[in-house]
């Protein structure tokens, strides 16, 4: 069947355009996630449960307890993630937003790397491994070598990119040369990296002297990413590197010949092949660049935020980066917003915990937000947005 041509495609109404756009979906996803989370908060709250036992004797107690539980939980989330209006100084108040951005920085860089793979049709699950080798290489250059100030930092960042690129490149090479499934190879490379790091931290080259936990020495000051807003805030130069990385992703995917090939192979490998594009070479380069970006994320994390290597350095960043990349629809702006959202839920979550919300529940709330954003048709149906896009029968019939 032929698709609609220009002449018979009528301009959509304003309501239809609102119904189709992404922004209301995101807003409604938050609303639904917070509604469902509110129920979970109520169930887990001690006061609410107690007042429920005499609900019919004094219903007002139950409703007051419920209201208090929900308000204090979401209030804590806001204060923890954005602006703590209860803090004594404005520095402390704003510190929360700055902290959110600091947490977001390595996450976003890693997610940008993930996006390269997704746009090229490769499902890179190896974020954790690429992040670990990137951190380890950058940290080693940071504490193991002595170089002049600026050069030392650049060398450490470059080491992170190279190590991450190598780790991604291995999976890319296996894909290109032997058609090995990249999902499997990257997961296996994650395990290799995790245990490689654990072993490295027992060697003299990496193990800091006189500490009980497996930890490396601090990176030298010459290799640290300088702080941007003075010493009371943790935000560092990595934030700028993150913005540059996002710019790079935009250029790569929409302006470069390499990105054109990546996208072509991702969308229709067969047509790309017929047009003379080597699918294997493309897969290898994609994984090289993706790994390099993720490795840069690891380097920024260790040189800016953590300052030393330990066996939990990658944390959940490797997997969260996948979610952030998918949530941001693999575009630079979307990834930055999704990364800040994710970081905010985690920094705010710590405050919620202080209000008696179990830490597990915080993770559930994060998951619900992502789940709803990832299922736009579900949100459209639940909120009635889909009704806006339904064509009006009479109008359509008249035009025809």
């Amino acid at each position: 069947m032929s698709a609609p041509t220009a002449e018979n495609e009528n301009t959509p109404t304003l309501a239809a355009r609102i119904g189709r756009s992404e922004i209301p979906v995101v807003i409604m996803a938050f609303v639904f996630a917070f509604l469902i989370s509110a129920v979970l908060i109520l169930i887990s709250n001690e006061d609410v449960r107690q007042s429920a036992t005499y609900l019919f004797a004094r219903p007002s107690d139950f409703f007051r307890a419920s209201w208090d539980a929900i308000v204090s939980a979401y209030d804590a989330l806001f204060r923890g993630a954005v602006y703590d209006y209860r803090a004594r100084t404005s520095t402390q108040a704003w510190n929360r937003l700055i902290e959110t951005l600091t947490v977001a920085t390595p996450l976003i860089i890693a997610a940008l790397g993930m996006a390269v793979g997704f746009r090229a049709g490769l499902f890179n699950i190896g974020g954790t491994g690429q992040l670990i080798v990137g951190s380890a290489a950058a940290a080693w250059v940071g504490f193991g070598l002595s170089l002049p100030p600026v050069i030392h930092l650049i060398a450490a960042l470059a080491a992170g990119i190279a190590a991450g690129g190598l780790w991604g490149g291995i999976a890319g090479f296996l894909k290109a040369r032997f058609d090995a499934n990249e999902v499997i190879t990257t997961i296996m490379l994650n395990w290799i990296a995790v245990n490689l790091l654990a072993w490295l931290l027992t060697t003299a080259a990496f193990r800091a002297p006189n500490v009980l936990t497996p930890q490396s020495p601090q990176v030298k000051a010459t290799a640290m990413l300088p702080r941007l807003l003075g010493d009371q805030f943790r935000l560092h130069l990595g934030f700028v590197i993150m913005l540059l990385a996002a710019l790079f992703l935009w250029w790569l995917m929409s302006r470069s010949t390499l990105g054109f090939r990546f996208r072509a192979v991702g969308e229709n490998p067969r047509a790309a092949q017929v047009a003379g594009i080597s699918v294997g070479t493309s897969s290898f380069l994609v994984m090289l660049i993706a790994g390099g970006l993720v490795g840069l994320g690891g380097a920024v994390n260790v040189l800016g935020t953590e300052h030393s290597l330990n066996d939990g350095i990658a944390g959940s960043i490797g997997f969260d980066a996948i979610t952030v990349a998918l949530l941001g629809r693999s575009g630079p702006v979307g990834i930055i917003l999704a990364g800040i959202l994710f970081a905010g839920l985690s920094t705010g979550g710590r405050y919620m915990e202080g209000q008696g919300v179990p830490i597990d529940l915080v993770a559930v709330i994060q998951a619900l937000v992502v789940l709803f954003i990832a299922a736009p048709p579900l949100v459209r149906r639940m909120s009635g947005l889909n009704l806006l896009t339904r064509p009006r029968r009479t109008a359509a019939a008249k035009e025809a």
């Binding site: 069947m1 609609p4 041509t5 302006r255 470069s256 010949t257 072509a264 229709n268 067969r270 017929v274």
Partner: protein, 523 residues
């Protein structure tokens, strides 16, 4: 059974595929639904078969309104459909396929004896010559189609819908199918025959309804002139045939020697093929689909893995080169399956037009694309090839099939070529644009470019070719002049060598429908 469709309307979003269509099929008539690809024929039949729900209108059987929520309802009401792509399980026997979904049982056991008997009975009644125990994948395509018909008849279909049934058949198999259709009609079955081939319509239809852009634009009598039907179908007058001037042919430009291609399963898809193409010559490669033509073109393009033999373009050996090197050598290629092999549907028209040249001047460098140049190029090509699109930035997937094909053709033809290869160059293109694309191919030839055309449409081959090579089971059975008769070509497509085919035609015994075969005309 009398079938009536009244005011059937079907919309997809803002696109109206069927616009209040009225159609009456009398009992025992062959009613032909004629229209171009994308005119809305298949949509209408899918509405009838319960696969789509109409947005308006109703269906009447013998005067009683019916509504179908799925193919099951339609079958129960006596409507049978033979799809363009067969719905058969290849590893099942004929009897098993026919029984599938309506299995006769004896207690908890399948009653295959009854199923077999049923196949045998229908097969004998219409002279189908089908063994109920044959495995479907071993049968030739024409026989598989008869299995589909048996399947429909075994469910007591009184209205039989045949959707583009001749697309996969050799000319001889087409003739046999037409005999079967006439026989079924004489037994009282109503047949809806969907096609875009004028010749077949005139040979077999009792009544003709022409459909264009989702509307009925007229009915015609089988005695109507072909040009009249074509004009109705396209909506303006078209030249069905035009003379191509003799081009002076030059040196041998391409020489293929002992080319053999083996597929992953170890089968020889191209078997020891040799031919030459001269400068300024169009070599047509005819054959029923799946006889090695695809693999042959892919071997030239460096897209096949196991290739032996030699393909020389001028002084360059192409076997063993990568696709990029072959393209760089100046070979323009139009693959036969545009959605799968040629276009990236989410990419814009402009991006698709430079897919194989994006990193070459003037469209880009090793590092970055030159978007303004790419855009300008797209505007020029859209203008020159009359590609109907809402803009060069629209995704190519939003274009109709014919316009997508024009994108592929314009991409391949827009640079300096040392060889032009087109497989099914006008598949899914409307009659008016076919003429334009044919002229472009002939223009390329007249400039001295050697051209290889692969087509399963005999008419297209005859129209364009200076010489015709017929492929059968991976071999070239013979290379004949471009004006060879349809009968000989048809027999060669069924496995006769050129000499045997000519002898057979001279003895005058083969063709059931002389009048049908004698006409050379458009597809």
């Amino acid at each position: 059974m009398k079938l009536e469709l009244q005011g059937i309307t079907k919309r997809f979003g803002s696109f109206t595929a069927n616009d209040s269509i009225d159609l009456v099929v009398e009992p025992g008539e062959i009613h032909s639904l004629l229209g171009e690809n994308g005119a809305g024929k298949s949509t209408l039949m899918n509405v009838l078969y319960g696969l789509y729900q109409p947005d308006g209108g109703r269906i009447l059987l013998d005067g009683k309104p019916v509504s179908f929520s799925g193919p099951g309802d339609a079958m129960a009401a006596g409507i049978g459909m033979v799809h363009q792509h067969f719905m058969l399980v290849p590893v099942f026997t004929v009897a098993e396929n026919v029984a599938l979904g309506h299995e006769p049982t004896k207690g908890p056991m399948l009653d295959m004896a009854t199923a077999r008997a049923k196949v045998r009975e229908i097969s004998e009644r219409f002279g189908f010559d089908i063994n109920p125990d044959s495995v479907v994948e071993d049968l030739p395509v024409g026989a598989q189609q008869r299995v589909e018909i048996i399947k429909a008849l075994s469910r007591r279909a009184e209205v039989l819908v045949l959707d583009e049934p001749t697309a996969v058949l050799t000319p001889q198999e087409t003739d046999e199918l037409m005999q079967i259709m006439k026989q079924l009609r004489d037994e009282g079955t109503s047949i809806v025959f969907i096609t875009h081939k004028l010749r077949e319509v005139r040979a077999v239809a009792d009544r003709i309804t022409v459909i264009r852009r989702g509307r009925i634009v007229g009915t015609a009598d089988p005695s109507a002139e072909q040009s009249e039907l074509a004009n109705l179908m396209v909506g303006r007058s078209v030249a069905l045939q035009f003379d191509k001037e003799e081009a002076p042919t030059g040196e041998t430009a391409v020489s293929v020697r002992d080319l053999t291609v083996v597929d992953d399963a170890g089968l020889r898809t191209v078997d020891n093929v040799s031919f030459d193409v001269r400068e300024g010559e169009i070599l047509g490669i005819a054959g029923v689909q799946g006889n090695g033509q695809t693999e042959l073109t892919e071997a030239i393009m460096g897209l096949q893995k196991n290739v032996w033999g030699s393909i020389r373009l001028g002084s360059t050996e192409l076997v063993g080169r990568s696709t990029k090197q072959v393209l760089d050598a100046g070979v323009g290629f139009v693959p036969e399956d545009r959605t799968h092999d040629a276009l990236i549907s989410s990419f814009s028209v402009a991006e698709n037009l430079v897919l194989d040249q994006h990193n070459r001047r003037p469209f880009g460098s090793a590092l970055s694309l030159r978007l303004p140049r790419i855009r300008k190029h797209a505007q020029e090509q859209v203008e020159e090839f009359d590609i109907r699109t809402s803009g060069t930035d629209s995704p190519v997937g939003s274009l109709s099939g014919g316009n997508q094909q024009k994108v592929v053709m314009s991409r391949a033809l827009s640079r300096d070529l040392s060889l032009f290869i087109a497989a099914q160059p006008t598949r899914g293109v409307d009659v008016g644009s076919i003429e334009f694309l044919h002229r472009r191919i002939i223009a390329a030839r007249s400039e001295g470019t050697p051209v290889i055309i692969v087509s399963t449409e005999l008419d297209e081959i005859s129209q364009l070719s200076d010489r015709i090579a017929v492929m059968y089971r991976g071999r070239i059975l013979g290379i004949v002049p471009g004006d060879e008769s349809r009968e000989v070509l048809g027999l060669m497509m069924a496995g006769y060598t050129a000499e045997a085919a000519r002898a057979e035609v001279a003895s005058g015994s083969t063709l059931a429908n002389e009048e049908l075969a004698a006409e050379g005309d458009i597809a």
